[in-house]
Symmetry: C2
Subunit: 336 residues, 2 copies
């Protein structure tokens, strides 16, 4: 077991890349050297890590010499090209894009849910989609206790999931609208300020979006159960950070809302924020910047046998992306 590691961050200047660097620092990941990689456009940028400036270098095939673990979040096409190159050089690659997630040879890991997938020291590990990561952390204890037959998810996803330009667009468009002016959407298909867009990622032939199919397919893969029926609708909302989800599920055996609350109170990665009569429930602004997935509005769904319903909010940049990737790296660090 090594004591310190050479860590590379690919896409170091993006929204998720910056969050990875911040989380590596705040969680005191044992790093001997931090290699920051990005496209030519961002090369030369200085990033502070543990109060020392680190220069961002141009990503190339030779970038991975001496690297132990590389965390990728520079888009699916970059991962498609560079993850195999790095893995072939013996680098452990934690990929935050969708490219390898459904590859049967690549484990898709949320450490609270399926850490056993790391036991064989795979060189390529996929990090799930943000909406999926926060969902499975909450579903897992319920799944283990009583089984899950069907899940229905309606998402309320923040703009940060679409990157820096999307954050800028919500901010600028909100300002312009408040002063009575229009601001043409660039990143989104429609205005997002004071609006909702029921469209994330592209549409597939069955009328779902790829984002919705990710929730369906990745949840099944992470829970290791292709028999769970899942429906999802993904909606972009004018919120900067945190994805929220209305979740209704049917369990195989009955469990009371009180027992679900007790289960989730002990669950890793979950904080129960649920006292509705005192107006206590999670919101994006109260959860932003925190690590756990916050769950509230836990109740029996009165419309079906063994029905349950809850509202969960997770920081999509942290548990939905950077934090989960760093947690995978932390698990690797004790076994490689």
């Amino acid at each position: 077991m090594k004591k310190e590691f050479v860590i590379a961050v690919v896409g170091a200047t993006g929204v998720v890349g910056k969050e990875i660097i911040e989380i590596l620092e705040s969680r005191k990941f044992p790093i001997s050297k931090l290699v920051l990689l990005a496209s030519e456009r961002s090369a030369g940028t200085q990033v502070l890590f543990n109060k020392k400036p680190v220069s961002v270098e141009i990503l190339s095939e030779t970038s991975f010499e001496g690297v132990d673990i590389a965390l990728f979040s520079a888009g699916a096409s970059v991962s498609a090209k560079f993850v195999p190159i790095a893995a072939a050089q013996g680098v452990y690659c934690i990929d935050n894009t969708s490219h390898f997630r459904m590859d049967p040879k690549v484990p898709l890991v949320v450490p609270e849910v399926n850490p056993e997938q790391l036991r064989n020291k795979p060189k390529i590990i996929a990090n799930p989609n943000c909406s999926t990561a926060q969902l499975v952390v909450v579903l897992k204890p319920i799944y283990d206790a009583v089984g899950i037959r069907r899940v229905d998810v309606a998402t309320y996803q923040s703009v940060s999931g679409a990157g820096k330009e999307a954050i800028d667009e919500l901010e600028k468009q909100s300002r312009m609208n408040l002063s009575g002016n229009e601001y043409q959407p660039k990143k989104f298909t429609q205005p997002i300020a004071f609006n909702l867009i029921p469209h994330i990622d592209s549409f597939v032939d069955n009328g779902y979006t790829k984002e919705e199919m990710k929730v369906i397919n990745e949840t099944r893969k992470i829970l290791g159960d292709e028999g769970i029926a899942i429906h999802a609708t993904a909606v972009r909302v004018p919120v900067f950070v945190c994805h929220s989800e209305v979740v209704t599920l049917q369990t195989k055996q009955f469990i009371s809302a009180a027992d679900v609350r007790a289960l989730l109170e002990k669950a890793p990665g979950v904080t129960v924020v649920d006292n509705p009569k005192k107006a206590v429930y999670p919101t994006p602004r109260s959860v932003s910047g925190t690590d756990d997935v916050a769950v509230g509005r836990i109740r029996t769904d009165i419309s079906q046998e063994n029905g349950l319903s809850f509202w969960c909010v997770g920081d999509n940049l942290r548990k939905g992306a950077a934090l989960n990737a760093v947690q995978i790296a932390e698990h690797l660090a004790v076994i490689i």
Copy 2:
């Protein structure tokens, strides 16, 4: 049959009251005299109707002399007191509050769905909750064609549903937040700018909110079928006007998404806006100010037998309140 009517609007200076006046004018409702009523605080305000100023008067027990139809939207306690007084004087009362909705003697009417409830010329008619009105207009043609076993609704409700102060709060709080300042919530329990609040109306003992129970109970009453299983989660979103809903349902018999689209294209009060591959779907900003409920994202729910899913957006001040009330008045006008 009368040719022209004396119409009273109770709560004339509120968000919904103003919308009622605008809709009475734009739809050319046959009015001989418009009586505008409000609390002492708003009395004396001048409102333009057909380009002529009308003074707002203080609501009292004697306000209804000579009135044919009164439209109430000044809160449940005002309706509780004054609707019976007006009805006893022979006035047809269309009540937009929750007070009479579940009264078995009072019909709850959406004219596209159950106009037959007006046939016996009831003196008190309830207007449904905004989230319910837009939902039942879309459910009705599906219900008639193939039956409905269960409905699951997640709402995305605009602040205008909570009145003028709520609209002001979203606007001011957004401005303050964009300039880096806080703005303490007054109307809402949490900040609403760039946030979501999973709480509308007060909580009841089963963990649902009253708003959610309204959707459940009112939908059953309007469709005249207590056997429909319904689950709802109501969420406030930082949007000024229009409520949106993610709806998943299980029908009794199979119907394809294409057949649902065809049904809804012919349905009164519904506009199908559904070509996702061209990024065509309704959003609050595209639907605001229009009369029909807009429906998109119509697809088979792949997670259950006879499953269907759609996204619907309605102007909560119009179909969800003022328009539906005026439509009821229009139906009354031809029979009284």
